[in-house]
């Protein structure tokens, strides 16, 4: 099971956190501090796994961002690397060559996509196409609602002119 997902920039800024196991606010900041200390200082050629408090943290660097997932000792580290890559590819298709700024200004989109890939710390969907389709459908629901709202306010504005 994945206990949490962290996206941390080279500078140690947190770009996304998702907790599937209960951690208090205090513990969360401590975890982030500890792990960025360990992971950001590791050299480029080393393996992508860090043992930490009886768990394993699997991380992978994409450009300026570190994608980290904390899993149980008995989980398959190599598979977690594939899950991270799966997520990155979906982000990449959604934003069209994703960069860190996309994830800053559209952080909520990054969360929505993650929620289509993982629930309860387990993998939900192995097809990138399906995830993209579901996100698009929900985005268009939001757009329709927005248009409706603006057309209603236009009608009200017209009527009260």
């Amino acid at each position: 099971m994945i206990h949490f997902v962290l996206l941390i920039s080279r500078q140690g800024k947190v770009r996304l956190t998702k907790w599937y196991s209960p951690y208090t606010q205090k513990e969360r900041s401590k975890v982030i501090r500890e792990l960025s200390g360990v992971i950001l200082t590791r050299g480029p050629k080393l393996c992508n796994f860090v043992e930490w408090r009886g768990y394993k943290v699997v991380y992978k660097r994409y450009a300026s961002l570190y994608f980290c997932m904390c899993v149980d000792q008995e989980d398959n580290e190599l598979e977690i690397l594939e899950i991270i890559h799966h997520y990155v590819e979906i982000l990449d298709r959604y934003f069209g060559s994703v960069c860190e700024l996309d994830l800053i200004f559209n952080f909520h989109k990054a969360y929505y996509i993650l929620d289509e890939i993982l629930i309860a710390g387990e993998l939900q969907e192995s097809s990138k196409k399906t995830v993209a389709r579901l996100i698009a459908a929900q985005d268009s629901l939001v757009e329709t609602a927005k248009e409706q709202a603006s057309s209603i306010s236009n009608i009200i504005a017209q009527a009260t002119k």
Partner: protein
Amino acid sequence: MGRWRSPFFADMIRSIRACKTAAEERAVVRKECAAIRAAINENDQDYRHRNLAKLMFIHMLGYPTHFGQMECLKSIASAGFPEKRIGYLGLMLLLDERQEVLMLVTNSLKQDLNHTNQYIVGLALCALGNICSAEMARDLAPEVERLLQFRDPNIRKKAALCSIRIIKKVPDLAENFINPAAALLKEKHHGVLITGIQLVTDICKVSTEALEFFRKPKCLDGLVKTLRDVVNSPYAPEYDIAGITDPFLHIRLLKLLHVLGQGDADASDCMNDILAQVATKTESNKNAGNAILYECVETIMSIEDNGGLRVLAINILGRFLSNRDNNIRYVALNMLMKAITVDAQAVQRHRATILECVKDLDASIRKRALELVYLLVNESNVKPLTKELIDYLEISDQEFKGDLTAKICSMVEKFSPDKIWYIDQMLKVLSEAGNFVKDEVWHALIVVISNASDLHGYTVRALYRAVQTSIEQIVLMFLHQESLVRVAIWCIGEYGDMLVNNVGVLNIEDPITVTESDAVDVVEIAIKHHSSDITTKAMAMVALLKLSSRFPSCSERIRDIIVQNKGSLVLELQQRSIEFNSIVEKHQNIRSTLVERMPVLDEATFSGRRAGSLPATVSTSSGTSLNLPNGVAKPAAAPLVDLLDLSSDDAPVPSSSGNDFLQDLLGVDVSPASVQPGTSQAPKAGTDVLLDLLSIGSPPVQNNSTPSDILSSSQDNKSSVAILDGLSPAPSGGAASMIDLLDGFVPNSPKPEDNGPAYPSIVAFESSSLILTFNFSKPPGNPQTTLIQATFTNLSPNVYTDFVFQAAVPKFLQLHLDPASGNTLPASGNGSITQTLRVTNSQHGKKPLVMRTRIAYKLNNRDVLEEGQINNFPRDL
């Protein structure tokens, strides 16, 4: 314009990002929070979703945002999809399952789970799956169960993962999900299949009923077929990763097969062919393929034995181990640790490669490899392995030295074939990484040295040489090798004459000439060096006193050194300085007897004492906390307590000192609280000691009866009185064994105790017909390890066949089970099965042993399983 300018809260993000200092950022956040609070107070609905998004961003920066929690709930309760979407996101981000506010959302969740819009149902399932509490799980389980049959597969897969969370929170609910989960296994949609398989795996972990259900050929064959289909599937672009169709599905299926095959030979048989196919056909040039192979090896190692498959698996690991990719080598080491219990020989073949990994640049790999090497050590390879590791200790990273030193010390203590080798290795470790050696390790070394009377001369000369060679780099020496210096000082103090007179030279030694004043020099350097700590200085002071008698010619010089500490600010040193000075100066006549060589330190006492550093629970808990068999029959302890109470009332002083004496002798928990005379704890601790004594004296069989029997039998009462008598100057006759025991401890009779302390036997498990007793012993010189002789007795009138005993221990313990004496247990107590367990307690002295046991046997061809947990081990094992 950048495409990231579009969102409705970009202005805030931009202004936060523009901040140059943390103070500026705080000011911007404060302003934004104030505005959001104002909007909340006005119940502004138009900007609610924008404010929520801002709050989430602020939350990610680490600022408190609890005031926004209710906004999430309101947003979830609104009718539209956009509001709900951001509301649920906020709920998952800003709250966790332990917050009370979460309960308020149960009703909204329930409504949304029944919503006509499937995307809203999806949002609710996602939120529930990610943060639900046990209470919510109970309330909403029926809804989720129903959604497992929803028409849209995307809802079914979400419901499946949500069910996992529910059964993790409330395992009793697992059985409700067996049938709907079984239905998911027949689906074609990969999302549903993946989540369904995961759900089944998790159900099987909590419910044996489910495990049996899914092991049936009806289900198992289906799973094997699904795996075969996906393995042989033609190119499927939607699921393809590096030429493999859906590796995620592969891995989940393999994981489920692992759970189903473990401990079930028939089920394991069903999956042999497909596992062999996966192991041989999967491409290993990309990470995805390796992930599948890794999982496949794990499954092969866990299911019931099939020689051919295991060879295949070990070969894959061998290939992994020689891979140049660090990730692959890491997982290979990880898996070899599991493989070692299955096929130690095969793992030993890779020893050289593993040893190379200990020296890797990568800390993760080093750590894994070191642990693996530690498991590989045995009597036959301990010498070369230790040599390799000690050589590496010289050049290893500072941060790795701690782990490395601990492991080397532990393996030397555990497997050393003889004392001289042990002493040599420990001296090397102390010289290389003395500051990483724990106190108890060098204490143990001193005890061993003291016991090796034929090696005293050799050891003191070796230590002198070690200290001498590094004396030029004196600063380094004291920074890194304080423990080496301490051991050296102690030995020079004790055996200084042997150093100077070259007593007991072994033919492997180089000759060495040391004058008396050379020896004093070393001690003087230690006491004068500014970086020596108080312990070292105090030890040096005692050594000097001893040398003053051994080397009369240096007596004057030694007195001068001692006197220099007369003004020490440390009370301990000052006092010793003045006292020792007066001994050297005025009490020449008693000095030589006063500073006689220490009697041989008793290894058994020491290991008992090492264990005795347990927390004070021993003496503070009530008198009934004795480790009695099965923890029953407590009142029986009362007579003894009375006995001691009486005596302590009548004559408090002798009694309490008697307690101390006993405790000292036996090395039982000398925690400060229990040795204070006159405290109420003393008699209780005394009872423990008495009990220990009693069980030493009584034959093991007697321990099978309840303790009340032992205590109330007049004979034993007498003998406990005899113990007290034995403390008085004139020992009375009776209960000879007890007296012997005490005699054995008279300081001047050198009697090396190599057997380790004795421990009372316990009844580890008892059912209506089956009794399991444990007898304990400690191998000499190795206090962490306990040998447990387990004896099983069958009191029922029927023979038990296929008798198998299994045990599990927490991580701080290591357990090794020798083969049992048989697998058939005769009826009516006419014989027994014995089995030896070797337990190594890495937290020795801190944590007591615990163990879970599982006993399986066949009674009239019917399988019987008995499980239990053993908590009543003697404390100091």
